[in-house]
Protein backbone atom coordinates (compact mmCIF):
# COMPACT_ATOMS: atom_id res chain seq x y z
CA UNK A 1 0.00 0.00 0.00
CA UNK A 2 1.08 3.53 -0.61
CA UNK A 3 1.91 5.03 2.72
CA UNK A 4 5.05 7.12 2.92
CA UNK A 5 6.95 9.76 1.05
CA UNK A 6 10.55 8.87 1.80
CA UNK A 7 12.15 8.91 -1.63
CA UNK A 8 11.24 10.81 -4.76
CA UNK A 9 11.52 7.34 -6.28
CA UNK A 10 8.36 6.42 -4.35
CA UNK A 11 6.43 8.63 -6.74
CA UNK A 12 5.28 7.44 -10.12
CA UNK A 13 4.94 10.02 -12.85
CA UNK A 14 1.20 10.11 -12.17
CA UNK A 15 1.77 10.54 -8.44
CA UNK A 16 4.15 13.41 -9.06
CA UNK A 17 1.76 15.13 -11.44
CA UNK A 18 -1.07 14.66 -8.92
CA UNK A 19 1.03 16.42 -6.29
CA UNK A 20 1.85 19.28 -8.66
CA UNK A 21 -1.77 19.64 -9.82
CA UNK A 22 -3.05 19.53 -6.26
CA UNK A 23 -0.47 22.13 -5.28
CA UNK A 24 -1.63 24.29 -8.16
CA UNK A 25 -5.17 24.33 -6.71
CA UNK A 26 -3.86 24.88 -3.20
CA UNK A 27 -1.78 27.82 -4.38
CA UNK A 28 -5.05 29.62 -5.05
CA UNK A 29 -6.08 29.04 -1.47
CA UNK A 30 -2.89 30.76 -0.35
CA UNK A 31 -3.93 33.82 -2.31
CA UNK A 32 -7.27 34.34 -0.58
CA UNK A 33 -7.86 36.03 2.75
CA UNK A 34 -8.93 32.89 4.60
CA UNK A 35 -6.01 30.54 3.96
CA UNK A 36 -7.19 27.76 6.19
CA UNK A 37 -8.95 24.61 5.06
CA UNK A 38 -10.75 22.21 7.39
CA UNK A 39 -9.54 19.11 5.58
CA UNK A 40 -7.16 17.55 8.12
CA UNK A 41 -9.08 18.52 11.23
CA UNK A 42 -8.42 15.96 13.94
CA UNK A 43 -5.29 14.62 12.29
CA UNK A 44 -1.94 14.95 14.01
CA UNK A 45 1.27 15.77 12.21
CA UNK A 46 4.52 15.50 14.15
CA UNK A 47 7.55 17.42 13.00
CA UNK A 48 10.46 15.34 14.24
CA UNK A 49 13.58 17.36 13.60
CA UNK A 50 16.95 15.96 14.55
CA UNK A 51 18.75 18.68 12.63
CA UNK A 52 18.25 22.39 12.88
CA UNK A 53 16.29 23.43 9.87
CA UNK A 54 13.97 26.22 10.80
CA UNK A 55 13.03 26.85 7.17
CA UNK A 56 11.86 23.36 6.42
CA UNK A 57 10.17 22.89 9.77
CA UNK A 58 8.24 26.14 9.46
CA UNK A 59 7.24 25.24 5.94
CA UNK A 60 5.81 21.89 7.02
CA UNK A 61 4.22 23.48 10.06
CA UNK A 62 2.47 26.15 7.98
CA UNK A 63 1.32 23.51 5.50
CA UNK A 64 -0.17 21.29 8.19
CA UNK A 65 -1.81 24.19 10.00
CA UNK A 66 -3.41 25.54 6.84
CA UNK A 67 -5.06 22.16 6.49
CA UNK A 68 -6.23 22.34 10.14
CA UNK A 69 -4.07 19.45 11.31
CA UNK A 70 -2.76 19.48 14.85
CA UNK A 71 0.99 20.03 14.74
CA UNK A 72 3.44 18.80 17.34
CA UNK A 73 7.00 19.98 16.99
CA UNK A 74 9.49 17.55 18.40
CA UNK A 75 12.97 18.89 18.07
CA UNK A 76 16.02 16.99 19.14
CA UNK A 77 17.50 19.90 21.03
CA UNK A 78 16.51 20.05 24.66
CA UNK A 79 14.40 16.91 24.51
CA UNK A 80 14.99 13.34 25.58
CA UNK A 81 16.41 12.79 22.11
CA UNK A 82 19.50 14.80 22.96
CA UNK A 83 19.84 12.68 26.09
CA UNK A 84 20.42 9.61 23.97
CA UNK A 85 16.90 8.27 23.51
CA UNK A 86 16.93 5.99 20.52
CA UNK A 87 15.05 6.71 17.34
CA UNK A 88 12.96 3.64 18.04
CA UNK A 89 11.91 4.83 21.49
CA UNK A 90 11.06 8.24 20.10
CA UNK A 91 9.02 6.54 17.40
CA UNK A 92 7.11 4.54 19.98
CA UNK A 93 6.39 7.73 21.91
CA UNK A 94 5.03 9.40 18.80
CA UNK A 95 2.99 6.31 18.08
CA UNK A 96 1.46 6.51 21.53
CA UNK A 97 0.54 10.15 20.87
CA UNK A 98 -1.37 9.03 17.80
CA UNK A 99 0.68 10.68 15.07
CA UNK A 100 -1.00 10.29 11.69
CA UNK A 101 2.12 11.52 9.97
CA UNK A 102 5.69 12.04 11.09
CA UNK A 103 7.75 14.54 9.19
CA UNK A 104 11.35 13.63 9.92
CA UNK A 105 14.61 15.46 9.36
CA UNK A 106 17.65 13.45 10.38
CA UNK A 107 21.40 13.58 9.83
CA UNK A 108 21.56 9.84 9.09
CA UNK A 109 20.67 8.62 5.62
CA UNK A 110 17.86 6.11 5.86
CA UNK A 111 16.51 7.23 9.25
CA UNK A 112 13.00 7.74 7.77
CA UNK A 113 13.02 4.17 6.47
CA UNK A 114 13.89 2.91 9.92
CA UNK A 115 11.22 5.09 11.50
CA UNK A 116 8.63 3.69 9.10
CA UNK A 117 9.18 0.29 10.68
CA UNK A 118 8.10 1.56 14.07
CA UNK A 119 5.13 3.87 13.40
CA UNK A 120 1.79 3.17 11.80
CA UNK A 121 1.32 6.63 10.32
CA UNK A 122 2.81 8.05 7.17
CA UNK A 123 6.45 9.02 7.22
CA UNK A 124 7.42 12.09 5.26
CA UNK A 125 11.11 12.57 4.66
CA UNK A 126 12.11 16.17 5.26
CA UNK A 127 15.75 15.43 4.48
CA UNK A 128 17.84 12.44 5.59
CA UNK A 129 21.59 12.78 5.69
CA UNK A 130 23.03 12.75 2.22
CA UNK A 131 20.17 10.66 0.84
CA UNK A 132 16.99 12.46 -0.16
CA UNK A 133 14.69 15.41 0.31
CA UNK A 134 11.65 14.59 -1.81
CA UNK A 135 9.44 17.56 -0.92
CA UNK A 136 12.27 19.88 -1.94
CA UNK A 137 12.36 18.18 -5.34
CA UNK A 138 8.57 18.51 -5.61
CA UNK A 139 8.65 22.20 -4.83
CA UNK A 140 11.50 22.66 -7.29
CA UNK A 141 9.48 20.89 -9.98
CA UNK A 142 6.44 22.96 -9.08
CA UNK A 143 8.43 26.19 -9.29
CA UNK A 144 9.91 25.08 -12.60
CA UNK A 145 6.54 24.24 -14.09
CA UNK A 146 5.04 27.55 -12.98
CA UNK A 147 7.89 29.52 -14.56
CA UNK A 148 8.49 27.45 -17.67
CA UNK A 149 4.99 26.10 -18.25
CA UNK A 150 6.22 22.53 -18.47
CA UNK A 151 8.78 20.07 -17.17
CA UNK A 152 8.87 17.49 -19.92
CA UNK A 153 11.81 18.12 -22.20
CA UNK A 154 13.36 20.84 -20.02
CA UNK A 155 17.13 20.77 -19.79
CA UNK A 156 18.05 21.08 -16.14
CA UNK A 157 21.61 21.51 -14.87
CA UNK A 158 22.19 20.66 -11.21
CA UNK A 159 25.48 22.17 -10.16
CA UNK A 160 27.64 21.57 -7.11
CA UNK A 161 28.16 19.07 -4.34
CA UNK A 162 26.12 16.21 -5.77
CA UNK A 163 27.95 13.65 -3.61
CA UNK A 164 26.56 15.03 -0.36
CA UNK A 165 23.33 16.49 -1.71
CA UNK A 166 19.96 15.03 -0.82
CA UNK A 167 18.40 17.69 -3.01
CA UNK A 168 20.29 16.44 -6.05
CA UNK A 169 19.32 12.80 -5.49
CA UNK A 170 15.63 13.59 -5.13
CA UNK A 171 15.66 15.96 -8.07
CA UNK A 172 17.33 13.50 -10.40
CA UNK A 173 14.71 10.85 -9.62
CA UNK A 174 11.73 13.17 -9.80
CA UNK A 175 12.77 15.15 -12.86
CA UNK A 176 13.58 11.95 -14.70
CA UNK A 177 10.08 10.64 -13.93
CA UNK A 178 8.63 13.90 -15.20
CA UNK A 179 10.58 13.78 -18.45
CA UNK A 180 13.19 16.48 -17.93
CA UNK A 181 16.79 15.98 -19.07
CA UNK A 182 19.09 16.42 -16.11
CA UNK A 183 22.81 17.12 -16.28
CA UNK A 184 24.83 17.00 -13.09
CA UNK A 185 27.75 19.40 -13.06
CA UNK A 186 30.44 19.12 -10.40
CA UNK A 187 34.13 18.60 -9.87
CA UNK A 188 34.81 14.83 -10.07
CA UNK A 189 35.50 14.73 -6.33
CA UNK A 190 31.94 15.78 -5.57
CA UNK A 191 30.23 13.12 -7.67
CA UNK A 192 29.41 9.59 -6.43
CA UNK A 193 31.67 6.93 -8.00
CA UNK A 194 28.83 5.18 -9.82
CA UNK A 195 27.08 8.34 -10.96
CA UNK A 196 27.18 6.95 -14.50
CA UNK A 197 24.40 4.56 -13.45
CA UNK A 198 22.08 7.45 -12.57
CA UNK A 199 19.38 8.42 -15.06
CA UNK A 200 21.08 11.65 -16.09
CA UNK A 201 24.07 13.18 -17.85
CA UNK A 202 27.23 14.19 -16.03
CA UNK A 203 29.67 16.96 -16.84
CA UNK A 204 32.69 18.55 -15.19
CA UNK A 205 32.39 21.66 -17.32
CA UNK A 206 29.82 24.24 -16.26
CA UNK A 207 30.56 26.57 -19.16
CA UNK A 208 29.79 23.88 -21.69
CA UNK A 209 26.48 23.01 -20.05
CA UNK A 210 25.10 26.48 -19.32
CA UNK A 211 24.18 27.63 -22.84
CA UNK A 212 22.12 24.47 -23.34
CA UNK A 213 20.24 24.72 -20.05
CA UNK A 214 16.69 25.91 -19.40
CA UNK A 215 17.05 25.62 -15.64
CA UNK A 216 20.20 25.93 -13.58
CA UNK A 217 19.93 24.66 -10.04
CA UNK A 218 22.84 25.66 -7.82
CA UNK A 219 23.56 23.50 -4.78
CA UNK A 220 24.96 24.77 -1.54
CA UNK A 221 28.64 24.00 -1.09
CA UNK A 222 29.84 23.57 2.44
CA UNK A 223 33.19 25.00 3.25
CA UNK A 224 34.08 21.95 5.37
CA UNK A 225 34.44 20.07 2.09
CA UNK A 226 37.46 22.18 1.31
CA UNK A 227 39.30 20.83 4.33
CA UNK A 228 38.57 17.27 3.21
CA UNK A 229 40.35 17.98 -0.08
CA UNK A 230 37.27 17.87 -2.30
CA UNK A 231 38.52 21.09 -3.86
CA UNK A 232 41.58 23.28 -3.29
CA UNK A 233 40.00 26.55 -2.20
CA UNK A 234 36.72 28.41 -2.07
CA UNK A 235 38.00 30.77 -4.70
CA UNK A 236 38.93 28.04 -7.12
CA UNK A 237 35.56 26.37 -6.61
CA UNK A 238 33.77 29.61 -7.21
CA UNK A 239 35.81 30.31 -10.32
CA UNK A 240 35.08 26.92 -11.89
CA UNK A 241 31.59 26.12 -10.59
CA UNK A 242 30.08 29.35 -9.29
CA UNK A 243 27.29 31.15 -11.13
CA UNK A 244 28.49 34.72 -11.51
CA UNK A 245 27.38 37.54 -13.79
CA UNK A 246 29.50 36.47 -16.76
CA UNK A 247 28.21 32.92 -16.70
CA UNK A 248 24.67 34.11 -16.09
CA UNK A 249 24.92 36.16 -19.27
CA UNK A 250 25.61 33.00 -21.24
CA UNK A 251 22.24 31.50 -20.32
CA UNK A 252 19.51 31.88 -22.88
CA UNK A 253 16.95 34.59 -22.17
CA UNK A 254 14.20 32.38 -20.75
CA UNK A 255 16.41 30.26 -18.56
CA UNK A 256 15.86 30.40 -14.81
CA UNK A 257 18.14 30.00 -11.80
CA UNK A 258 17.18 28.01 -8.74
CA UNK A 259 18.74 27.36 -5.34
CA UNK A 260 17.31 25.26 -2.51
CA UNK A 261 18.83 27.59 0.09
CA UNK A 262 20.44 28.53 2.27
CA UNK A 263 22.82 30.20 -0.18
CA UNK A 264 26.49 31.02 0.12
CA UNK A 265 26.40 34.27 -1.77
CA UNK A 266 29.66 34.82 -3.54
CA UNK A 267 30.53 31.14 -3.41
CA UNK A 268 28.24 29.05 -5.61
CA UNK A 269 26.08 32.01 -6.63
CA UNK A 270 26.75 35.71 -6.90
CA UNK A 271 24.41 38.16 -5.19
CA UNK A 272 23.21 39.76 -8.39
CA UNK A 273 22.31 36.41 -9.92
CA UNK A 274 20.48 35.35 -6.75
CA UNK A 275 18.48 38.59 -6.75
CA UNK A 276 17.77 38.73 -10.49
CA UNK A 277 14.19 38.40 -11.74
CA UNK A 278 15.13 35.12 -13.35
CA UNK A 279 15.98 33.62 -10.00
CA UNK A 280 13.13 31.64 -8.40
CA UNK A 281 14.75 31.49 -5.01
CA UNK A 282 12.11 33.48 -3.13
CA UNK A 283 9.13 31.84 -4.79
CA UNK A 284 10.65 28.43 -4.06
CA UNK A 285 10.10 29.19 -0.39
CA UNK A 286 6.44 30.16 -0.91
CA UNK A 287 5.90 27.16 -3.15
CA UNK A 288 7.34 24.97 -0.43
CA UNK A 289 4.30 25.51 1.78
CA UNK A 290 1.90 24.83 -1.06
CA UNK A 291 3.61 21.66 -2.20
CA UNK A 292 3.85 20.34 1.35
CA UNK A 293 0.14 21.02 1.79
CA UNK A 294 -0.48 18.94 -1.31
CA UNK A 295 1.69 16.12 0.02
CA UNK A 296 0.00 16.11 3.43
CA UNK A 297 -3.42 16.31 1.82
CA UNK A 298 -2.75 13.39 -0.52
CA UNK A 299 -1.21 11.27 2.25
CA UNK A 300 -3.63 12.04 5.06
CA UNK A 301 -7.02 13.18 3.85
CA UNK A 302 -8.41 9.86 2.72
CA UNK A 303 -8.82 6.37 4.05
CA UNK A 304 -5.45 5.66 2.48
CA UNK A 305 -2.79 7.77 0.78
CA UNK A 306 -3.10 8.60 -2.89
CA UNK A 307 0.64 8.83 -3.43
CA UNK A 308 3.88 7.41 -2.10
CA UNK A 309 5.52 4.06 -1.46
CA UNK A 310 5.89 1.33 1.09
CA UNK A 311 9.12 -0.06 2.46
Amino acid sequence: MKRHLISAGDLTRDDALLVLDTAEELARVSERSIKKLPTLRGRTVVNLFYEDSTRTRISFEAAAKRLSADVINFSAKGSSVSKGESLKDTALTLEAMGADAVVIRHAASGAPHRLANWVRGSVVNAGDGTHEHPTQALLDAFSMRRRMGRIEGLKVAIVGDVLHSRVARSNVLLLQALGAEVTLVAPPTLLPVAVDTWPCQVSYDLDAVLPKSDVVMMLRVQLERMNAAYFPSAREYSRRYGLDRERFARLHDDAIVMHPGPMNRGMEISAEVADSPRSTIVEQVANGVTVRMAVLYLLLSGSEPAIGGDL
Binding site: D21, L26, R28, L298, L300, S301, G302, E304, P305, A306
Partner: protein, 195 residues
Protein backbone atom coordinates in the same frame (compact mmCIF):
# COMPACT_ATOMS: atom_id res chain seq x y z
CA UNK B 1 -20.48 -1.08 -21.14
CA UNK B 2 -21.04 -1.46 -17.43
CA UNK B 3 -24.25 0.57 -17.53
CA UNK B 4 -25.88 -2.10 -19.65
CA UNK B 5 -24.90 -4.85 -17.26
CA UNK B 6 -26.33 -2.86 -14.39
CA UNK B 7 -29.62 -2.32 -16.17
CA UNK B 8 -29.29 1.39 -16.85
CA UNK B 9 -32.38 3.30 -17.91
CA UNK B 10 -32.29 6.76 -19.43
CA UNK B 11 -34.61 9.00 -17.47
CA UNK B 12 -33.61 12.19 -19.29
CA UNK B 13 -32.36 12.47 -22.86
CA UNK B 14 -30.61 15.40 -24.51
CA UNK B 15 -33.74 17.44 -25.32
CA UNK B 16 -35.13 16.90 -21.80
CA UNK B 17 -31.95 18.24 -20.28
CA UNK B 18 -32.03 21.18 -22.64
CA UNK B 19 -35.59 22.02 -21.60
CA UNK B 20 -34.87 21.59 -17.92
CA UNK B 21 -31.92 23.98 -18.02
CA UNK B 22 -33.92 26.50 -20.00
CA UNK B 23 -36.61 26.39 -17.35
CA UNK B 24 -34.06 26.80 -14.57
CA UNK B 25 -32.57 29.79 -16.36
CA UNK B 26 -35.99 31.40 -16.60
CA UNK B 27 -36.76 30.70 -12.98
CA UNK B 28 -33.48 32.24 -11.86
CA UNK B 29 -34.22 35.35 -13.87
CA UNK B 30 -37.68 35.54 -12.35
CA UNK B 31 -36.70 34.90 -8.76
CA UNK B 32 -33.68 37.21 -8.81
CA UNK B 33 -35.34 40.08 -10.68
CA UNK B 34 -33.38 39.76 -13.91
CA UNK B 35 -30.37 38.04 -12.37
CA UNK B 36 -29.16 41.22 -10.84
CA UNK B 37 -26.06 40.66 -8.69
CA UNK B 38 -26.24 36.92 -9.33
CA UNK B 39 -23.17 34.71 -9.47
CA UNK B 40 -23.44 31.15 -10.70
CA UNK B 41 -21.03 28.74 -9.06
CA UNK B 42 -20.89 25.20 -10.39
CA UNK B 43 -19.60 22.31 -8.32
CA UNK B 44 -17.03 20.42 -10.36
CA UNK B 45 -17.12 18.49 -12.50
CA UNK B 46 -20.59 18.35 -14.04
CA UNK B 47 -22.15 21.05 -11.90
CA UNK B 48 -19.57 23.41 -13.35
CA UNK B 49 -20.56 22.51 -16.90
CA UNK B 50 -24.21 23.00 -16.05
CA UNK B 51 -23.49 26.41 -14.51
CA UNK B 52 -21.87 27.57 -17.73
CA UNK B 53 -24.83 26.33 -19.76
CA UNK B 54 -27.32 28.13 -17.55
CA UNK B 55 -25.30 31.33 -17.73
CA UNK B 56 -25.30 31.06 -21.50
CA UNK B 57 -29.12 30.62 -21.57
CA UNK B 58 -29.60 33.66 -19.32
CA UNK B 59 -27.49 35.82 -21.56
CA UNK B 60 -29.44 34.58 -24.60
CA UNK B 61 -32.79 35.42 -23.02
CA UNK B 62 -32.04 38.75 -21.42
CA UNK B 63 -28.70 39.81 -22.77
CA UNK B 64 -27.26 39.93 -19.24
CA UNK B 65 -23.84 38.53 -18.65
CA UNK B 66 -24.04 36.55 -15.40
CA UNK B 67 -20.68 35.97 -13.73
CA UNK B 68 -20.01 32.27 -13.52
CA UNK B 69 -17.35 30.22 -11.82
CA UNK B 70 -16.63 26.97 -10.05
CA UNK B 71 -16.21 26.03 -6.43
CA UNK B 72 -14.51 22.80 -5.48
CA UNK B 73 -15.80 21.22 -2.32
CA UNK B 74 -13.38 18.31 -1.96
CA UNK B 75 -11.48 19.80 0.96
CA UNK B 76 -14.75 20.39 2.81
CA UNK B 77 -16.32 16.95 2.35
CA UNK B 78 -17.38 15.04 5.45
CA UNK B 79 -16.64 11.67 3.87
CA UNK B 80 -13.00 12.23 2.92
CA UNK B 81 -11.78 9.44 5.16
CA UNK B 82 -14.14 6.87 3.72
CA UNK B 83 -12.16 6.63 0.51
CA UNK B 84 -8.57 7.05 -0.65
CA UNK B 85 -7.35 10.61 -0.93
CA UNK B 86 -8.79 12.15 -4.05
CA UNK B 87 -7.65 14.76 -6.54
CA UNK B 88 -8.94 18.30 -6.16
CA UNK B 89 -11.34 20.05 -8.53
CA UNK B 90 -10.90 23.59 -9.72
CA UNK B 91 -12.10 26.61 -7.76
CA UNK B 92 -12.42 29.55 -10.10
CA UNK B 93 -14.26 32.51 -8.73
CA UNK B 94 -15.34 35.21 -11.17
CA UNK B 95 -13.43 38.45 -10.85
CA UNK B 96 -16.46 40.10 -9.23
CA UNK B 97 -16.14 37.76 -6.26
CA UNK B 98 -19.13 36.69 -4.19
CA UNK B 99 -19.36 39.36 -1.52
CA UNK B 100 -22.85 40.89 -1.36
CA UNK B 101 -24.11 38.82 -4.28
CA UNK B 102 -26.70 36.12 -4.70
CA UNK B 103 -24.77 32.94 -5.32
CA UNK B 104 -26.59 30.18 -7.13
CA UNK B 105 -24.79 26.90 -6.52
CA UNK B 106 -25.22 24.49 -9.38
CA UNK B 107 -24.86 20.71 -9.08
CA UNK B 108 -25.91 17.81 -11.24
CA UNK B 109 -27.60 15.55 -8.69
CA UNK B 110 -29.04 16.48 -5.30
CA UNK B 111 -29.06 13.45 -3.00
CA UNK B 112 -28.04 13.42 0.66
CA UNK B 113 -27.33 17.14 0.70
CA UNK B 114 -23.82 16.61 2.00
CA UNK B 115 -22.18 18.01 -1.10
CA UNK B 116 -24.21 21.18 -0.75
CA UNK B 117 -23.34 21.40 2.94
CA UNK B 118 -19.67 21.20 1.95
CA UNK B 119 -20.23 23.82 -0.74
CA UNK B 120 -21.75 26.19 1.82
CA UNK B 121 -18.66 25.75 4.01
CA UNK B 122 -16.37 26.31 1.06
CA UNK B 123 -18.31 29.41 0.09
CA UNK B 124 -17.99 30.71 3.61
CA UNK B 125 -14.19 30.67 3.27
CA UNK B 126 -14.12 32.66 0.03
CA UNK B 127 -16.49 35.49 0.88
CA UNK B 128 -19.84 36.60 2.24
CA UNK B 129 -22.70 36.32 -0.27
CA UNK B 130 -25.97 38.21 0.32
CA UNK B 131 -27.90 34.99 -0.29
CA UNK B 132 -27.19 31.46 -1.49
CA UNK B 133 -29.54 29.47 -3.68
CA UNK B 134 -29.27 26.00 -5.14
CA UNK B 135 -29.97 24.69 -8.62
CA UNK B 136 -29.81 21.01 -9.51
CA UNK B 137 -30.51 19.08 -12.67
CA UNK B 138 -31.90 16.08 -10.80
CA UNK B 139 -33.31 15.84 -7.28
CA UNK B 140 -33.39 12.18 -6.38
CA UNK B 141 -34.53 12.55 -2.78
CA UNK B 142 -33.16 10.80 0.34
CA UNK B 143 -31.91 13.98 2.01
CA UNK B 144 -29.82 13.53 5.15
CA UNK B 145 -29.54 17.23 5.95
CA UNK B 146 -32.09 20.08 6.04
CA UNK B 147 -31.30 21.25 2.54
CA UNK B 148 -33.60 21.82 -0.44
CA UNK B 149 -33.09 23.06 -3.97
CA UNK B 150 -34.48 26.36 -5.23
CA UNK B 151 -34.38 25.23 -8.84
CA UNK B 152 -34.88 21.62 -9.91
CA UNK B 153 -34.62 20.25 -13.44
CA UNK B 154 -36.38 17.01 -12.61
CA UNK B 155 -37.59 15.36 -9.43
CA UNK B 156 -36.65 11.72 -9.77
CA UNK B 157 -37.99 9.18 -7.29
CA UNK B 158 -35.27 6.59 -6.65
CA UNK B 159 -34.47 3.83 -4.22
CA UNK B 160 -31.34 4.26 -2.14
CA UNK B 161 -29.54 1.42 -3.86
CA UNK B 162 -29.98 2.93 -7.28
CA UNK B 163 -27.41 5.19 -8.87
CA UNK B 164 -28.01 8.29 -10.90
CA UNK B 165 -25.45 9.08 -13.54
CA UNK B 166 -25.35 12.31 -15.48
CA UNK B 167 -23.66 12.50 -18.88
CA UNK B 168 -22.91 15.85 -20.46
CA UNK B 169 -21.77 16.53 -23.99
CA UNK B 170 -18.74 18.63 -22.95
CA UNK B 171 -17.34 15.87 -20.75
CA UNK B 172 -18.88 12.59 -21.84
CA UNK B 173 -19.75 13.23 -25.48
CA UNK B 174 -23.52 12.98 -24.97
CA UNK B 175 -26.34 14.36 -22.85
CA UNK B 176 -28.31 11.90 -20.73
CA UNK B 177 -29.31 11.05 -17.19
CA UNK B 178 -29.28 7.33 -16.41
CA UNK B 179 -30.86 5.50 -13.53
CA UNK B 180 -28.75 2.44 -12.72
CA UNK B 181 -30.24 -0.38 -10.71
CA UNK B 182 -28.92 -3.16 -8.62
CA UNK B 183 -25.78 -2.12 -6.85
CA UNK B 184 -26.15 -3.68 -3.46
CA UNK B 185 -22.63 -3.05 -2.24
CA UNK B 186 -22.72 -1.68 1.27
CA UNK B 187 -22.48 2.06 1.13
CA UNK B 188 -23.27 2.17 -2.56
CA UNK B 189 -25.65 5.00 -3.36
CA UNK B 190 -24.81 6.95 -0.25
CA UNK B 191 -23.08 9.42 -2.42
CA UNK B 192 -24.02 9.81 -6.02
CA UNK B 193 -20.76 8.29 -6.93
CA UNK B 194 -19.50 10.98 -9.23
CA UNK B 195 -16.67 12.42 -7.20
Amino acid sequence: MSDARNQARAVLEGPDIHRALTRIAHEILERTKGAEKVVLLGIPTRGATLAFRIAERISQFEGVKVPVGTIDITMYRDDLRLRPARPLGRTDLPAEGVDGRTVVLVDDVLFSGRTVRAALDALNDVGRPRAVQLATLVDRGHRELPIRADYVGKNLPTSKSEKVKVYLQEIDGRDAVLLIKGDDRPGAGETNGER
